[in-house]
């Protein structure tokens, strides 16, 4: 029987022949890499203690970045981080990335911990990001992760796979974020529920890795378990620069079975905005151009990548942020920050009046910084606009691409980036 990418990776991790594995099967899989961030690691540590685990399964396959609250904003958080530093020392976890290195998913790929064909779990829903590098990445909870840290295994249901075939070419200042929002709006945020997603077609193949990452990352907003984009030379070159570990990319068979195949045309895409409080509440930017903004944010694992910053800087260059609007830019990693600095993007943002922050989840989750107050309105190039996520329950979050966010920072209201 022909197989999809998800079926092949899970079968391999379970030691089974892919031909014998079908959607709906439950497999016990060996994990290739496991990641827990600051908020997760502390929870995992507690459970490991409860389980009586003294020695971890394989410290070289465990990665612990500190990103969600970084640097600490309370004594309590600082103490939590001290506990985590002791934990990684005691267990010989070398892949420890302290405050400031970057947001966990960006750090995972930059440091070579994500390789095509592998099964990766993380204590974060956006672990789906690794599909942009051909890895089956998915989020699990703290207890599930403690079990992985102890044994190196866990159970997985083999998901059905759906595919989005995207033809055409993205227009100027229209990006993969607009495509993802288009999918959420057109097909709903449950279109991929418990399913694997494969993004295919010429428009996807033409995307920079950073922009494919956005699709894989936000696959969880469609309910998805994994979100794959094609493994091509761009992917293998990136990975080979960062790791010597061997890996085996998995590609879908031509006659693999998909539960559904949806066709989209990048040529027809317009800049999109998701209105509060749901990701599927999507309209063309033209329909919300009157909305006034207290804050504009570009950052998070979804939109703090180099290509995101570059696209936003291109829009804002030579302009100034509107009076009455705060514009916050958070590069997703120190490596991205450094590259953005070398290429002059940081200067462009600061000249325009933006606040550049260190690399952290921060404003996206309303923790540590960038919090919005009662009745305030924020346009955010990030992944979620759930009620109260960035601050007050009465505040409102609109989602857009970095291009639209930058254009809106100039005017202080939601603005079509193609008209700037």
């Amino acid at each position: 029987m022909a197989s999809t990418i998800a079926e092949k990776i899970l079968a391999r991790a379970a030691g089974e022949d892919p031909a014998t594995v079908s959607p709906g099967d439950h497999l016990i899989c060996d994990i290739d890499m496991a990641m827990s961030h600051d908020l997760g690691t502390d929870g995992v540590m507690e459970h490991l203690e409860e389980m009586g685990v003294e020695e971890l399964w394989d410290p070289s396959r465990i990665v612990c970045p500190m990103d969600h609250v970084a640097p600490s904003h309370t004594v309590e958080d600082a103490n939590q981080k001290s506990r985590i530093r002791r934990f990684v020392e005691e267990h010989g976890i070398e892949n420890f990335y302290d405050v400031g290195t970057g947001i966990c998913h960006e750090v995972m790929v930059e440091k070579g911990h994500v390789r095509p064909g592998e099964l990766v779990v993380g204590t974060d829903s956006h672990t789906t990001s690794y599909g942009a590098f051909g890895a089956a990445g998915t989020g699990i909870g703290f207890t599930d992760m403690a079990y992985v840290y102890a044994t190196g295994q866990n159970w997985f249901r083999v998901p059905e796979t759906i595919r989005f075939d995207v033809s055409g070419t993205f227009g100027k200042r229209v990006s993969s974020k607009d495509l993802l929002l288009q999918i959420a709006g057109e097909f709903g945020t449950d279109v991929a529920r418990y399913r694997a997603v494969e993004y295919a077609g010429e428009a996807i193949e033409d995307l920079a890795l950073d922009d494919r990452f956005t699709l894989s990352n936000m696959t969880i907003e469609l309910g998805g378990k994994f979100g794959f984009t094609p493994v091509d030379e761009a992917v293998t070159e990136f990975v080979d620069e960062r790791t010597d570990e061997p890996y085996e990319p998995q590609r879908a068979d031509d006659d693999a079975e998909y539960e559904a195949v949806y066709e989209l045309d990048a040529d027809e895409l317009r800049p999109k905005v998701a209105k509060p409080h749901r990701v599927e509440n999507v309209v063309d930017v033209d329909e919300v151009v009157d909305v006034e903004l207290d804050q504009v944010f570009i950052g998070s694992c979804t939109n703090g990548k180099f290509e995101d910053l570059k696209a936003a800087a291109d829009v804002i260059e030579g302009n100034e942020v509107a009076r009455g609007t705060r514009f916050i830019v958070t590069p997703a990693s120190r490596e991205i920050y450094a590259k953005a600095e070398r290429e002059g993007l940081i200067r462009t943002f600061t000249d325009a009046g933006a606040t550049i922050t260190n690399s952290t989840c921060g404003a996206c989750i309303g923790m540590g910084m960038g919090v919005i107050g009662d009745d305030e309105v924020c346009l955010a190039a990030q992944n979620r606009n759930f009620q109260g996520r960035m601050g007050a329950d009465s505040s409102e979050i609109y989602l857009s691409s970095p291009e639209t966010a930058a254009a809106s920072a100039i005017t202080g209201r939601i603005t079509d980036p193609t008209e700037v």
Partner: protein, 166 residues
């Protein structure tokens, strides 16, 4: 397991179940504030063993395990939904909170209905309407975790792992 049903809509996400205002607080505190953005005071309304009934995609959003843990700590006996987000479903199994998938749950169960859940027959009796509903039984790889009382207990009983030898 017998209790009263509290019915929610589709897409109840983790920011609604456990608002981020209470992040980092003990689970007992989070339990006092479950569903607060949608139903302030919910935790005081319910009694031990009551049921949360919901539509599609219950528990969407973040991977925070505090969502099912807070529901369990608040005294909810099980969550019955038309479908679950994958991560919420996993996190429920892992802590031993039953998450039951029932087609058309919100069509057949209304606010205040009294339900009895029978795990052996995989059925829910709605005493208020007299209707009996089926839920999808768990696959045995998952059932073994639930039977042990959660994955931590499973590890204590079977440190060798989850593989079932046929």
């Amino acid at each position: 397991m017998r209790g009263t049903a509290y019915v929610f809509g589709d897409e109840v996400n983790t920011d609604v179940i456990t608002p981020s205002d209470y992040f980092g607080q003990p689970i007992e505190v989070m339990a006092e504030h479950i569903f607060e953005p949608e139903r302030p005071g919910f935790a005081e309304e319910i009694e031990d063993g009551d049921f949360v009934v919901a539509g599609e995609h219950f528990g969407s959003g973040s991977s925070r395990e505090s969502a099912p843990m807070a529901i369990q700590a608040a005294g909810i006996g099980c969550v019955i939904a038309e479908s679950f987000s994958r991560i919420f479903y996993r996190n429920s199994i892992v802590i031993g909170l039953p998450a039951l998938t029932v087609e058309g749950a919100t069509d057949h169960i209304s606010e205040g209905d009294v339900l009895t859940v029978d795990f052996d027959s995989a059925t829910i009796e709605n005493e208020t309407t007299g209707e009996t509903l089926d839920f999808e039984p768990l696959p045995r790889e998952v059932q073994q975790i639930f039977d042990a009382g959660g994955i931590i207990e499973h590890y204590r009983q079977h440190p060798e792992g989850l593989r079932i030898d046929d």
